[in-house]
Symmetry: C2
Subunit: 555 residues, 2 copies
Amino acid sequence: MSLFQKHQTTLTEAINALHSRTFYAAFPEHPAPAVYGETADADGQARFKAMLGKKFEELRQSGAEGWAGQEESPYLQESLNVSYPTFSTSTLINRSSAAFHTWRKTSINDRAGILTESLERVKKRFFEVAYATMHTTGQGYMMAFQASGPHAADRALEAIAAGYEELNRFPAKAVWDKPMGKFNIQLNKEWRAVPKGISLVIGCSTFPTWNSVTGIYGSLMTGNSVIVKPHPGAILPIAIFVAEMQNVLAENNLDPNTCQLAVDTFDKMITKELAEHPDVKLIDFTGNSAFGSYLETLPGKTVFTEKTGVNSVILDSVEDIDKTAANLAFSVNLYSGQMCTAPQNFYVPQAGIKTPTGTVSFDEFAEKFVAQINGLVDNPKAGPFVLGAVQNKKTKERVTDAEKLPGKVWLISRSFENPMFKKARVATPVVVEVDSSKKEIFSKELFGPIALLIKTKNTDESIALAKEMALAHGAISCGAYTTDAAVKEKIADEMALAATPVSFNLTGGIYMNQNAAFSDFHVTGGNPSGNASFTNPEYVTKRFTWVGHREPVKV
Amino acid sequence: MSLFQKHQTTLTEAINALHSRTFYAAFPEHPAPAVYGETADADGQARFKAMLGKKFEELRQSGAEGWAGQEESPYLQESLNVSYPTFSTSTLINRSSAAFHTWRKTSINDRAGILTESLERVKKRFFEVAYATMHTTGQGYMMAFQASGPHAADRALEAIAAGYEELNRFPAKAVWDKPMGKFNIQLNKEWRAVPKGISLVIGCSTFPTWNSVTGIYGSLMTGNSVIVKPHPGAILPIAIFVAEMQNVLAENNLDPNTCQLAVDTFDKMITKELAEHPDVKLIDFTGNSAFGSYLETLPGKTVFTEKTGVNSVILDSVEDIDKTAANLAFSVNLYSGQMCTAPQNFYVPQAGIKTPTGTVSFDEFAEKFVAQINGLVDNPKAGPFVLGAVQNKKTKERVTDAEKLPGKVWLISRSFENPMFKKARVATPVVVEVDSSKKEIFSKELFGPIALLIKTKNTDESIALAKEMALAHGAISCGAYTTDAAVKEKIADEMALAATPVSFNLTGGIYMNQNAAFSDFHVTGGNPSGNASFTNPEYVTKRFTWVGHREPVKV
């Protein structure tokens, strides 16, 4: 049985899910012993610990030109001391070019089979990946497992499915038979989906696998060779993915360099050198807007970016103000606000928020919001695990700076004790009140656990500001609370024009930060927060070119 | 019956044809009296003549701020004296912005019905359009009828069909039902295809409708409002399309400004002003590379270009050298080489071309090629109608300059008499021999009836040069003649990597210049000749953004 046959059902289900957009997951998201095995967690943790302080020798990239690695655990605030083989840009490019010509001629079905198989292999290592993610990104255990393991694998499968479908969307061959009156012109036509070349996937420090696998698998599925350039602060999680990919490639007599890992260090980054190389035709990037915008201007490249944005919450009227405040408090606490989908600007009308039992004033809402944040932080069974640790020192500084903003500070950031990691770099949310006239304060992303309560004249101003922020500075997510159908449609319409998806009236166990594979288009590509979306048809069609040849039918 | 219901069968057939890629045409290409009516041609010609020297008052764009028009007939070498209403950029933009918000809320089915109906209306005016095309572009009668009439309408329908399919590709709504163990999270999700805004379609002087309608109909189908900016030298053909579109819009109580005509003059072009306006989000352009490349760099725009290229013919081995020479001679003569798909560089090995009856030397082929060109030019029943007239004076100058190239001139350009238009601006092909080492000569587009016979070391060098030209300077079409399967696959593979479609071994009544709607992707978008293709999925998906909203299911 070929790998394609082995995984055909999964692939078919994934393509169906892409179109039904109902719930579908190929990889169970809960790290339950019943699913992943009684000892899976302990084994994974042991394997992770065994990697520390050593060379990562799993890659099938021969002839290392050096070894380097500067990852540091935000939980321990000490180095992992894992080192990876390093290679010059020319070695990486030459190997990728060579691998490209074999890989592009590998059949669509074989590519799909190999790629899906690699995800099955990684599935056996989800716990290792989870611990590697915790100790590079600072994510809590549950998020680290889900986001870097099953959710990332689902996103990767989504990219395989989307690519597979697009590659099969037009026939490989057809006879074109044109009646000309007394005779027919008959042409044999064929169409080739020609991959673009070398694909560079640039990772970020907070979601090292989830944000990278769509580009990696999207490019590979469509026949491109890939160079994965992780963030120097978060290598290990994606290194495990690449190692398993290389294993499956080698087992199938293909060049492991079809998907290479390109490690660099903070003091000598090779990203620009790789990105500007003329043989690199595709670039996927997650990270800051300045670098993303620079990449978008590189001539002769197809670039997919997810940059920064200013995410808004519009509060108009609610069914239950306490549940609303609790939901939003969770969104702000989750991974200490270090998600690209985390809310930052909360627009509350000066007249307050309408509820079935009367209006809740701006101040009353602020109090409830702060109380819910504190309640979660101070819950020792939940807080430390929801907040996790802060990936970057600069994020902590930004939180401290936010307390100096000109406005009432409703909540200052503080520390708390993580029972498992005493030295963890932590910061709880800061909440500051800002008047809607002080646009310069809230017109930029303040990455981290920073919430601004913006007092607006009314909901119309709230909507206008949320739309303006999205159009001018980007937005990846938006929350809105209203019980009024007309207001709801206005928000839906105005934010749609700003290409921002809106989560309405979320309470309970679902948050505006979360984006589901096969159902949510993550980043629309329609505002400055990014020019690409996971995973609409463009996300894969731009990775190859349709070329049609033709020849008269022989008579 | 709604317009959608009226045209539903056509739309379904068109979508099927997009996927089967077999022959399909909704609009008969032959101007036969049996199809279009006994008096259709004479009536069309009369209506065209009645327009000359007058104001074009058919547009439903009120309050003209001026009247202008500088079209000149290449057949008569005199002005048409047709003037069109002109408007300032701000008027055009303001009207387009206002129309956008109504049009984007018009249902997908209504948009499809209205757009298809407008093509049915234009069908009644194909002969007028044909004469208008002849007397602006210089095309021969048959090409003017086919390219500007039925073929353009088929391409427009293709864009409608592609847009319609993409807009319906994902459900408008779905319930996302995620099992969480003890309970389920249920979200109502909805997805909106949000148009980008104002679409600017910039026309060219040689194919004023065929090259513009895909952008116009692609943008309108996906909900954008459109401003059509024709080339000042070729307005009337597309003005008729726009007028009929406005009629159908008005009849359906929609704003005719949803699709506006923006006329300018050679001395005061408004293209840049329109293109750079921040409200213009989409730009379609056909024309020279310099302006196209400038448009591609404009920030915040989605740009679709068809620019220039260097089209090659690779001659390796043939079944019949005379039929080959005849086919290529026709391609060079057709519309005096003024097609973006016309061949320019003919690569012939120094050892000659293999045939079943022995090798034909370079010189023998040159003689046969020249003889075939002369035979067609000197055939009074065919030549003048195939060659047509030369649109632009500069093209004639370029042909004259080509005779001074350093190489043997196998054929000089000359004049001939068009029996119907004594004053026509005409030029027959010039054929010059160039050595493959003189790359600087053939590394650029020499627009017009200019053929370079390039003597190469062998077919491998021919392939390498054709590929290099396409990668460096773009190519829209390629011809190749070989009877060797391995050589054929090498050409197919190498030119595919240069994103250039190859027509193999064409003889008889089909030419490498021709591109069929629903079957050929015109311009692949993968080399410098343009970044867009008629009509792959990207061509329409880039005109809108998917935005998904969600809300918990009420329990």
